[in-house]
């Protein structure tokens, strides 16, 4: 199917739904080609290549709502699929807030090129992929005699999607994503085998660094963990490295959604316009970052995306509001999902942030952990390095960091100048003061 056929099919499904009895319907049609290569010990370990399709249909019938998806796109199958989907919707209870987004919210998409589709993608061959991954692996093996094993990988995706609403909205999207990296395991002291990864994601093939970067990076990070131990329970300053920071900030995302507010499961209820974090902390949702991994012109509901300031110098300015929960709360929708998260970055590198620390911990990663979205209490495992007088003293592990998110966000002293641009969440390194750490 070419993209015209797909568009035509999406419109056909919408029409079928309406003729079967839906008042309104929306259809998302997506397809992708995914390739994944893994190399281990100089040998191709895994080669996977496939294309896939999916169709998702949302039905609004007498203010009753349901949503259905299938990967069988044959018309005769879809015809039955649609009529059964419409028929079952009628068994549900009426919900006055269920209808398609009003067209005014879907209009006015920004007219720009997001630069998310690499036209050179089709020229990429299996040999290119294998060669790149093989070079990552070779660099890892050569980086240290202590390497026990390493898995190097290269994967890429080309995707297309189409969205059609029965009330006139139509959108389409296409993009490429390239990922590469390695995970290395090294000899430790005793039985343990420290391991770490260096894995990054890009929109354009030409953005990928030389493969040695990943092989050496993963091995150096793993070597940095040799000899990890616990430290004493107590209060410590903490710097969270940029690539680990999304695990921490992720705890705040759920409570920022309108659905959490409406369902009484957010510690941020009633906090709009109030100070919820330190002055140093601003959180902006920017859908228009060129080549951003979360860049898009319309969101999952078809709403035209906008730049949204969520937290401005510590003050809560906006929730993530989709149309359904927005209606229930009587709020204007702003969009229920994240695009790219950007921050008010500081002017110091990770090393400079660490150099400021008298006694503390550089957190290079989290392990496990969770939070209570209604109270803001959280607790999570961490590892990294113990720091004294601005210098890394020794690697640490088996520690838990605990506290309350409202308090801890107030303890953000500084953000680094180093957004992790290999994710849609472009988090910088974060300096936090006086956090409770449980260890020995």
């Amino acid at each position: 199917m070419n993209s015209n056929n797909r568009k035509e099919l999406a419109h056909w499904v919408v029409k079928q739904a309406v003729s079967d009895g839906a008042d309104e319907a929306s259809v998302d049609l997506a397809n992708s080609r995914d390739i994944e290569i893994e190399v281990r010990k100089g040998k191709l370990d895994k080669l996977q290549e496939s294309t896939q399709n999916s169709l998702s249909l949302s039905i609004y019938a007498n203010h009753r709502y349901s949503s259905h998806s299938t990967n069988d796109l044959r018309r005769e199958s879809l015809s039955r699929f649609v009529s059964e989907a419409v028929a079952m919707t009628k068994y549900l209870t009426e919900d006055e807030f269920r209808y398609l987004p009003e067209p005014k919210y879907c209009q006015g998409q920004k007219q720009i090129d997001l630069k998310i589709n690499d036209n050179s993608y089709s020229g990429l061959t299996s040999e290119d992929r294998v060669k790149y991954a093989t070079e990552i692996d070779a660099a890892a093996q050569a980086a240290s005699p202590k390497v026990v094993t390493c898995t190097a990988g290269f994967s890429d995706t080309y995707y297309e999607s189409i969205k059609v609403h029965s009330n006139g909205f139509e959108g389409s999207n296409a993009g490429t994503v390239f990922s590469a990296g390695a995970e290395a395991t090294v000899e430790g002291k005793g039985e343990g085998r420290p391991s770490d990864w260096d894995w990054r994601t890009y929109r354009f093939r030409k953005e990928l660094p030389s493969p040695e970067v990943f092989g050496q990076g993963a091995v150096q990070r793993a070597l940095g963990k040799v000899g990890q131990e616990k430290i004493e329970t107590g209060k410590y300053d903490v710097v969270i490295e940029n690539r680990a920071a999304s695990r921490f900030l992720g705890n705040i995302l759920g409570p920022l959604s309108a659905s959490s507010i409406q369902q009484k499961r957010s510690f941020l209820e009633g906090k709009l316009g109030e100070k919820i974090a330190s002055d140093k902390f601003s959180w902006i949702d920017d859908p228009f970052v060129p080549s951003g991994l979360g860049s898009r012109l319309y969101d999952g509901e078809g709403l035209a995306t906008k730049r949204r300031v969520i937290i401005d110098k510590g003050v809560l300015k906006s929730f993530y509001v989709d149309t359904y929960y927005g209606r229930k709360l009587g709020w204007e929708p702003t969009g229920g999902g994240t695009t790219n998260l950007v921050f008010d970055y500081g002017d110091k590198s990770l090393d400079e942030l660490v150099a400021q620390m008298q006694r503390g911990i550089l957190v290079t990663g989290f392990i496990g952990g969770n939070s209570n979205s209604v109270t803001g209490d959280f607790s999570a495992g961490i590892f990294g390095s113990y720091v004294e007088n601005g210098k890394l003293v020794r690697p640490v592990n088996e520690l838990n960091i605990s506290g309350n998110l409202m308090e801890v966000m107030g303890q953000i002293a500084e953000l680094g100048n180093d957004p992790w641009i290999y994710s849609a969440w472009r988090c910088p390194s974060i300096y936090l003061t006086e956090l409770q750490i449980s260890g020995a």
Partner: protein, 512 residues
């Protein structure tokens, strides 16, 4: 194991047939699936489900092995998932998914070539086979002459396929569960219910001529609520999952889910985050098996060991815990969420001893690792769907009962915590560090359960913590929740279990 009669189908269909029912999607004679026995059918019945026959499978295998390769398999899957939900006292949302395809895998030594197609036409399957074949680079291998159905035991016999249960049969249960939560406590301000079923027909054919078929049901109840006391709001939930049919949605499960969701929510008003640090920890029977899943389970998956990535890579036949400790990974526990009649590469499943009387005994193997170690597969080769190649995974991981009594375990603790419910865990295979997050529990002071606790993470090192398992009671329970296990981007349902047990020292997160 009742045969589903044509008459029953018509009767069900008169009310409401499951949305997007199998015949629609598979483009088959509807009578075929609805007349099919849940178990005990013939090979031709099962191949017919996917509109394939022996000659087609042979042709596809010939293409898969056209460049050599030691082995290939075809994994046919058809899955229907249904979710019906309640919020704000109304059953006002339903989601469903129908998914179908075949994964084609070629093994060349320990190398894997993989492709899948969502179209079950001979041409599409041949194309996928040609892609997977590229892992090998020599002359063609011959394919089997004959295929035969290898019959497996059935650890989850059910009366009626989920494919035939309509939404109208689900709604009253949801409403009653909601009402029970609403009536239980006047501090409840919001309630939420999900009714889920997802079930698959799986047919695996391999180049050794072996074919297995499995119907895998799954039923899930999720109840959650928010409650307010003064200015404080709390939230809690309870899930019940099993490989069952409609019988899972019983009156007793309804009461259990509603009552537990409410008590876990309002119980938190009194709960605190405790002081942190190293201390004695007692684990409740049941879902505390998450400790085993993280501390030893993942590290015993043989792929991590054949690659020398695991802290357990050199530990087979070595003592690893007290002699009272035996740990198994079991596919045969009746109706358990993680149980499997056959694994995802047509191997027989079993109850595998990881640790017997304190000695580390066996990894969990798939076909690749079994060949690497020169032994038989433990039937642990699992995959998320036809889109994924299999790897060694856990099924139901638990510790066998020990010599102690629950009361004597509590009595032995001067100051520690008791862990009752959990949300998630994680492990790093190489160093062996692992964590799990305790949602609810209690302090233990001078041998007694005292103040409730909540929301703390526990972190430890696998081999160290196993050595520190110093007491094990005789009250083994299997988890009943909706546990999913993630590994290398693939998610599969699992169970875990534990008797009441004590760990003498482990690091507990805390606020002081």
């Amino acid at each position: 194991m009742a045969n589903i009669s044509r008459r029953k189908f018509v009767k069900t269909g008169a009310g409401w047939v499951a949305l997007a029912s199998v015949p629609t999607i598979l483009h088959l004679d509807p009578a075929r699936i609805f007349a099919m026995p849940v178990q005990g059918g013939e090979l031709s019945d099962y191949m017919g489900l996917f509109s394939v026959d022996r000659p087609t499978i042979k042709k596809v295998m010939a293409a898969a092995l056209a460049h050599g390769g030691d082995y290939c398999d075809l994994f046919f899957e058809h899955r229907i998932s249904n979710w019906v939900g309640l919020q704000d006292d109304a059953v006002n949302r339903a989601y469903s998914n129908v998914d179908m395809g075949v994964g084609i895998r070629v093994l060349n030594g320990d190398q894997t070539g993989y492709s899948f197609t969502e179209e079950l036409t001979p041409d599409a399957m041949l194309n996928a086979a040609k892609t997977a074949a590229n892992i090998a680079n020599s002359s063609a291998r011959s394919v089997p002459v004959e295929f035969s159905l290898h019959k497996t035991p059935n650890y989850y016999p059910i009366e009626e396929l989920w494919d035939k249960v309509g939404i109208d049969q689900k709604i009253p249960f949801i409403q009653k569960l909601n009402q029970r939560m609403r009536d239980a406590d006047n501090r409840i301000i919001k309630t939420r219910v999900w009714y889920g079923d997802w079930s698959s027909h799986v047919l695996v054919a391999n180049s050794e001529g072996r074919v297995t078929y499995d119907y895998r049901p799954m039923a899930e109840i999720h109840a959650s609520c928010s409650a307010k006391q003064g200015s404080v709001t709390e939230e809690g939930s309870y899930s019940l999952a099993a490989r069952k049919g409609m019988e899972h949605f019983s009156e007793s499960n309804l009461k259990l889910a509603a009552d537990k969701a409410v008590s876990r929510t309002v119980g938190q008003f009194e709960a605190i985050q405790p002081e942190g640090g190293e201390m004695e920890v007692v684990l409740a029977p049941g879902s505390s098996g998450i400790l085993l899943h993280e501390a030893i389970g993942h590290g015993m998956e043989a792929d991590f060991n054949r690659k020398n990535e695991s802290i357990y890579s050199d530990s087979i036949n070595k003592p690893i815990a007290e002699p009272m400790v035996s740990i198994v990974d079991d596919a045969t526990w009746e109706y358990a969420r993680g149980s499997l009649n056959g694994d995802d590469e047509a191997s027989d499943t079993e109850k595998t001893f990881l640790v017997r009387d304190g000695i580390l005994r066996s990894y969990m193997h798939d076909r690749i690792s079994a060949k690497h170690y020169g032994i038989k597969s433990t039937g642990s080769g699992r995959r998320e769907s036809f889109r994924h190649s299999p790897m060694p995974r856990m099924r139901c991981t638990y510790m066998l009962p020990g010599p102690h009594k629950r009361e004597e375990i509590f009595a032995s603790v001067k100051k520690g915590i008791y862990c009752e419910s959990f949300t998630n865990g994680e492990v790093h295979i190489g160093p062996g560090d692992f964590t799990f997050y305790v949602k609810t529990g209690n302090l233990i002071e001078n041998g007694k359960l005292t103040r409730p606790i909540k929301d703390i993470n526990i972190i430890g090192n696998g081999p160290e913590v196993l050595k520190n398992v110093v007491m094990v009671a005789d009250d083994l329970k299997m988890s009943v929740g909706s546990g999913m296990c993630g590994k290398n981007g693939q998610s599969v349902p699992v169970s875990m279990g534990l008797p009441t047990a004590k760990v003498s020292a482990i690091t507990v997160g805390g606020t002081a």
